[in-house]
């Protein structure tokens, strides 16, 4: 009854529905998987937390990013997006604040690594069961950072505790100690010490004693044991500590303000100024966005090289 159809046409027609047929199951499968996932009790139970997380964390972050592309000095998000804030940042001297923040973060991290290694070593190996030592190191965290920094100010101030005591007791003149870069770094090292120390101590405690002894037994010197065995095996802890302190110092503000007396301006200070005195929310948002990007790249880059599960389960 049907007229004979050229074979090429029938083949092309046959291919049409065939392609459609193979595309649909894939989408179906995807939807099915998604539905299955959504039905899982784990997902349902996480919904409240997820809602809080989105409203309290992702929302404000998104708002900051949106403000970053609004015209300068605007107080709403109804304007057309623009990159003028970023242009301002690169034309102005904000790179200096970025440079100071990164530089001081690097310096504090390196200094903290050097200071914390012996302490972490002692904490995880010598004073293993000493709660008191741990407590002494943690307790200052319960006092406000600013209060502790003002404590330093009172100590180091001209005619302060240190200067006054030495002057009265020995007649020594103490030079001006406050309001410079070294004292800023001192403040940072002091405030962020626990954040380097405890991850590092965790890392040190992961070094099996037998590995250390075996290396020593095979003729390694103290230095070789340190370099070949201890450092690589404690590396996860060291990296986490370094990451924490670097990120925290990068976003810090009080040390440079209170101890440094604004002898250097940190990027966090610029952000604060933009939001408060300058009343330029978009500029502050743009600066924040840049800082978040910088930190994010660093954190994600480092964490991808780090097996956190392994670190925590082996403790």
């Amino acid at each position: 009854m049907n007229a004979p159809v050229p074979s090429s046409v029938s083949r092309s027609e046959a291919r049409g529905p065939g392609e459609k047929g193979s595309a649909l199951p894939v989408r179906d499968r995807g939807l099915k998987a998604l539905a299955g996932w959504a039905r899982q009790p784990g997902f349902l139970l996480s919904l409240p937390a997820l809602a809080v997380f989105i409203a309290g964390f992702v929302g404000p972050l998104a708002l900051v990013v949106i403000y970053a592309v609004m015209p300068a000095r605007s107080f709403g998000v109804e304007h057309l997006p623009t990159l003028e804030n970023f242009v301002t940042i690169f034309q102005d001297s904000y790179y200096l604040s970025f440079a100071w923040s990164i530089g001081l973060a690097l310096a504090s991290t390196v200094i903290l690594m050097l200071i914390c290694w012996p302490v972490a070593y002692g904490l995880s190996r010598v004073f293993r069961r000493s709660m008191i030592l741990t407590l002494l190191l943690v307790l200052p965290l319960f006092v406000s950072e600013n209060v502790r920094l003002f404590g330093w100010v009172l100590t180091l101030l001209n005619h302060g505790i240190l200067d006054g005591s030495l002057r009265t007791l020995f007649g020594w003149e103490v030079p001006d100690l406050l309001y410079n870069v070294p004292v800023t770094i001192l403040g940072m090292v002091y405030v962020y010490l626990p954040f380097m120390l405890f991850p590092m101590a965790l890392g040190v405690s992961m070094i099996p004693e037998a590995c250390r002894e075996a290396a020593f037994d095979m003729g390694a010197t103290r230095w070789q044991v340190f370099r070949e065995v201890e450092i690589p095996l404690a590396m996860p802890g060291i990296l986490i500590g370094a990451l924490l302190t670097f990120v925290l110092v990068l976003g810090s503000i009080s040390e440079a303000k209170i101890l440094g007396g604004q002898s250097v301006i940190m990027i966090a200070h610029d952000i604060e100024t933009a939001f408060t005195y300058a009343q330029n929310w978009p500029l502050g948002s743009a600066l924040s966005t840049l800082l978040i990007l910088l930190t994010g790249v660093l954190v994600i880059g480092l964490l991808s090289k780090l097996n956190l599960d392994k670190l925590l389960s082996r403790k």
Partner: protein, 350 residues
């Protein structure tokens, strides 16, 4: 070959008031497979830590090749230890682990690799293991890697701290023989510690048995098996028949706990003590067979131990353990005759 490479003179170790090791005198010959055996807490780990240089003796001297090494730290002693945990470096590959001692000495990368692959081959691991991670290796393979690393160090004396204890039975048996084989091929002095006398017997040229920080007996496996110095050593080797006896005359001993009499081992100077007869030295006797002693009893229990069968035979108020090859037609409840020859027993004072 028969030179003394390791000598201990009156070595003692205290931890506070606790005496871990007491009055140890010992010498190990060059090229010997020497094993220290003892139950946990006998001081064998303390001993090996002092020998390797990780602990110092409280008293006495340790001599290596005639030189006092008490104060030489582990990293300057020509010895190396295979740890119980193996202590392989988890952050290094198999190859890097084996090369570690060579790297410490500053040897060139190329030479190190050649040597590492040589050692892998010697320990029946293929070259592909060179770049594997330690975590990818099985228990037996790790064992071999640890041994290869120790051999790369090329120590004068190689120490082993129960490295096989975590392995399953079959693998342990294989590695025991392999270890003995490697020792023979390399001609190195191996000092091994274990809690298993069975393991020690398989591998060792000589064995020292430790108890509560002291050495109870030193000898070849044969000497220890046939002439245990006391009841502790005899029991340590496995189940034995023990009878408290006193001498009746030159030929006979009286059981102090029953009215039985046992043939006295020839030339024994002991008059009162413990008579030890190994289960496998007691024979089931047929009508026409004879032995120096003969007892009639009833089979109470039967335990199959693989190729051998152990019977518990009740003779009046005593129970005897008898071990025979499998395939003997005794059943629980059968009446049997058993006996042993006088020279198959050991009499020791308590």
């Amino acid at each position: 070959m028969s030179e003394t490479i390791l000598e201990l003179k009156g070595v003692e170790k205290y931890f506070g008031d606790f005496v871990a090791v007491e009055r140890i005198n010992l010498s190990v010959k060059d090229g010997e497979f020497f094993t220290l055996v003892g139950p946990s807490g006998s001081g064998k780990t303390t001993m090996i830590r002092m020998l390797v240089g990780m602990d110092k003796p409280s008293r006495g001297d340790i001599l290596m090749a005639g030189e006092r090494v008490n104060d030489v730290p582990a990293n300057r002693r020509p010895t190396c230890m295979v740890f119980q945990s193996l202590a392989l470096f988890p952050h290094k590959t198999v190859g890097e682990n084996i090369e570690f001692p060579l790297k410490l000495r500053g040897e060139a990368k190329h030479n190190r690799k050649t040597r590492a692959i040589e050692l892998l081959e010697q320990l029946h691991l293929s070259e592909s293991y060179y770049s594997k991670k330690v975590s990818q290796c099985s228990g037996g393979e790790r064992q071999r890697v640890a041994l290869a690393r120790a051999l790369a160090f090329d120590p004068q004396i190689l120490f082993f701290d129960e490295p096989l204890s975590a392995l399953d039975y079959r693998l342990r048996k294989t590695l025991e023989k392999e270890l003995k084989d490697i020792q023979r091929r390399t001609g190195k002095t191996f000092v091994y510690i274990t809690h298993s006398l069975e393991e020690a017997m398989v591998m060792s040229d000589r064995i020292a048995i430790m108890r509560k920080g002291r050495i109870v007996q030193v000898g070849t496996p044969d000497e220890i098996y046939n002439g245990p110095a006391n009841g502790f050593v005899a029991q340590f080797m496995g189940e034995v028949n023990e009878f408290r006896v006193s001498r009746k005359d030159a030929q006979w001993l009286e059981d102090l706990d029953s009215d039985a009499q046992y043939p006295a081992p020839p030339d024994s100077p002991v008059d009162e003590g413990v008579l030890i007869v190994r289960p496998e030295r007691i024979r089931m006797l047929s009508e026409e067979e004879t032995a120096d002693s003969r007892f009639e009893g009833v089979v109470e229990h039967q335990y199959v131990l693989g190729s051998r069968v152990q019977y518990q035979v009740r003779v009046k108020q005593r129970a005897f353990l008898v071990e025979t090859m499998i395939g003997q037609p005794y059943q629980v409840g059968d009446s049997v005759s058993l006996g042993w020859d006088a020279d198959q027993s050991v009499l020791m004072s308590e």
